[in-house]
Amino acid sequence: MAKTLRDKLVPYTFVLPALLLLALFSLIPIFIALIISFTGLDITGLGDWSQIKFIGLQNYTQLFHDSAFLQSILNTGYYVVIGVPLVILLSLTVAILINFGQNRFFRFMRLVFYTPSITNTVAVAVVWTYMYNPSMGLLNNLFGKIGMGPFPWLSDPATAKISLIILAVWKAIGLNMLIFLAALQGIPESLYEAAELDGAGWWQQTRHITLPSLSFSIFFVTVTTLIGWFQFFDEPFVMTKGGPLNSTNSVALFVYQNGFQNSNFGYAAAGSFIMFAAIILATLVQFKLQKKQQGL
């Protein structure tokens, strides 16, 4: 029996609201930004569209000669390369440890690790800025008590990056831990029982049962974390403004500075498209790897 037109339209009406929102707030703006990235749009052009000039790829070529942009790419790379594995490793470890038991202590630990992720990044970043304060911050005071420091948490170019990563990792563990926990609890108990009968130890069980069963959640967490870290913004925005010496500036912050502080909208749009391309590329690679893994 052939479906009537109405039957075929039904599913579309259900996804329509979501599609509309996606189009209005994501797809159309992205398309407009793409056009803007080929123009020299600045504050004058904003008020008077006749002043907007198309300059082709000039924004893009200029970006790759802009040392500040290149450095922000390197910084973002640094955040991603260090931050993402750290988040996955730590949240997986925490999840496995918490999955050991069901009593009050384990539930409490779950709360402890989850709490940071329900906090607001900006608010937390302000609090951490106080903790990182070189002369009166909590951290330097504590380290001072045991005869260490003072550490230049946010004032030294190399240390500042690490300080921001520590905050972001601390905040990201909770949510990912929860995803892993849910997946862990979905692994059938019978697998472990069988393994135990065969004489497999804890490590072997983890290695050959837990991790493979988690492969999809690991993939999911990797992709979302990766995208999140590519857009690393709140922490440097609130805590360092990209300094000292541009060492904590991320691509997202660079785009913001150029777009909203310097009103170079065309230039900023071009920068954001490079970031967009990088994220898509990284995600595609992830998907490829995942497919390969599942194919095996």
Partner: protein, 414 residues
């Protein structure tokens, strides 16, 4: 089949879009067509300082005013959105540094006619430095409302200890006093060479006789500017100024032993020092800036009132602008907020007789805004980036300025 599918989708899309537009309109308070209700954008965390005056205005004229106070840190974002969407407030408080931007985006109404015909808001009543922030290409786009200028804050008691009964009056004295003060011990400094303030170096450059920009050619790598910046870099080199933000509160940096006993700031600092530094009244003072080779010119800032170009209630907005610009309104605003009046005549009022405020008055005679071009924000940011290595790592000033100069040249000729 396919076509009908797409027709359905697009029909729904149009419906939803209309719905959204409808919401947008009802939220947009500026488009009230009767002219009896207008919106006023005000920079600040709360509207307590300006509310009483606006209420009095409503009482007098019957025009309702909705005040939207927006923190300064987000003010520019908000203005950008208004400029791009061509809908926003009716009356808007503009920071003087943002004027060039929003005049160039045609977001502010040309009020030359009103300014020239109404004696009460005539430009010659205001400080020249303030008026310059309202005039672009011979047209007026705003009326100066409050003015800021920067002066030297110093600890009287500590300067006395190193032999200065008065604040330093020249660059040489400033350097000498700062160096002596920094010898008080570890983590003690003399003067804060501000590395977070985009106008700081340029202010000193002008005192050294520099013209910052001639036509479309920046002069940052010429002798007057470079000399002034080398003078400032010297403070870092001999430890008279901190090389980085110490992240201290004003109470910690200026109160007690005062690791930073001298710094340059604006009138907004007065209240903080009084409240948080825990100092006796005779322990600290303010003074006009020390004189460089040429002058002791400070940097004028402040706020202007402007009518938003796409407002539908321009005449009501203009009425509020005029009401807020009267001498009594400016004085009331000063009492509520410590923001200094731009009307010269207001300064004879008793409430401004405080000796510290009079220092600001004196400094206003030698104070000008930074160049009023739309690229200035970015130049300021670029300067900070160029200056950071000088402060932190002792980088070569001439080289840093050569680079800033060519960067700026590109920017101006784009």
């Amino acid at each position: 089949m396919k076509l009908t599918k797409w027709l359905g989708i697009s029909a729904a899309a149009v419906a939803a879009a209309l719905l959204l537009v409808g919401c947008g309109n009802s939220n947009n308070s500026s488009s009230g067509s009767n002219g009896k209700s207008i919106t006023f954008w005000y920079g600040g965390d709360a509207d307590t300082a300006v509310k009483p005056m606006v209420d009095a205005f409503t009482k007098k004229t019957g025009i309702k005013v909705k005040i939207q106070s927006i923190p300064w840190s987000q003010y520019n974002d908000k203005l950008l959105t208004a400029a791009a969407s061509k809908s926003g407030p009716d009356l808007v408080l503009m920071g003087t540094t943002g004027m060039a931007n929003y005049v160039s985006s045609k977001s502010l109404m040309d009020i030359s006619k009103e300014v020239k015909s109404d004696k009460n808001i005539s430009p010659d009543k205001y400080f020249e430095g303030s008026v310059r922030t309202t005039e672009f290409n011979g047209k007026y786009y705003a009326v100066p409302w409050y003015v800021e200028t920067r002066v030297l804050y110093y600890r009287k008691d500590l300067l006395k200890q190193v032999g200065y009964n008065e604040a330093p009056k020249t660059w040489d004295e400033l350097y000498d006093a700062a160096t002596k003060l920094s010898k008080r011990g570890k983590n003690m400094y003399g003067f804060n060479v501000d590395f977070a303030e985009p106008t700081f170096g340029f202010m000193f450059a002008r005192q050294n006789g520099a013209t910052l920009i001639k036509g479309k050619t920046p002069q940052f790598n010429k002798k007057p500017t470079v000399e002034a910046l080398e003078y400032l870099a010297q403070f870092y080199k001999n430890g008279a100024s901190p090389k980085q933000d110490l992240k201290l509160t004003i109470g910690q940096s200026f109160g007690g032993k005062a690791p930073i006993p001298m710094f340059i700031s604006g009138p907004w600092m007065m209240a903080s020092v009084k409240k948080d530094a825990g100092l006796k009244d005779d322990q600290w003072g303010v003074a006009v800036l020390p004189k460089g080779k040429d002058n002791n010119m400070s940097n004028t800032g402040g706020g202007n009132l402007a009518v938003f170009n796409y407002s539908k209630n321009k005449s009501s907005a203009m009425k509020l602008l005029k009401y807020l610009s009267t001498e009594s309104s400016q004085l009331k605003y000063y009492k509520n907020s410590d923001s200094m009046p731009t009307l010269k005549s207001a300064w004879t009022d008793k409430s401004l007789s405080d000796s510290r405020i009079q220092v600001f008055r004196k400094q206003l005679n030698s104070s000008e805004p930074m160049p009023l071009i739309k690229q200035w924000d970015q130049i300021g940011q670029n300067y900070l980036k160029a200056w950071e290595p000088v402060a932190m790592q002792g980088a070569n000033v001439q080289k840093a300025m050569d680079q800033l100069n060519s960067q700026t040249e590109q920017l101006l000729n784009k």
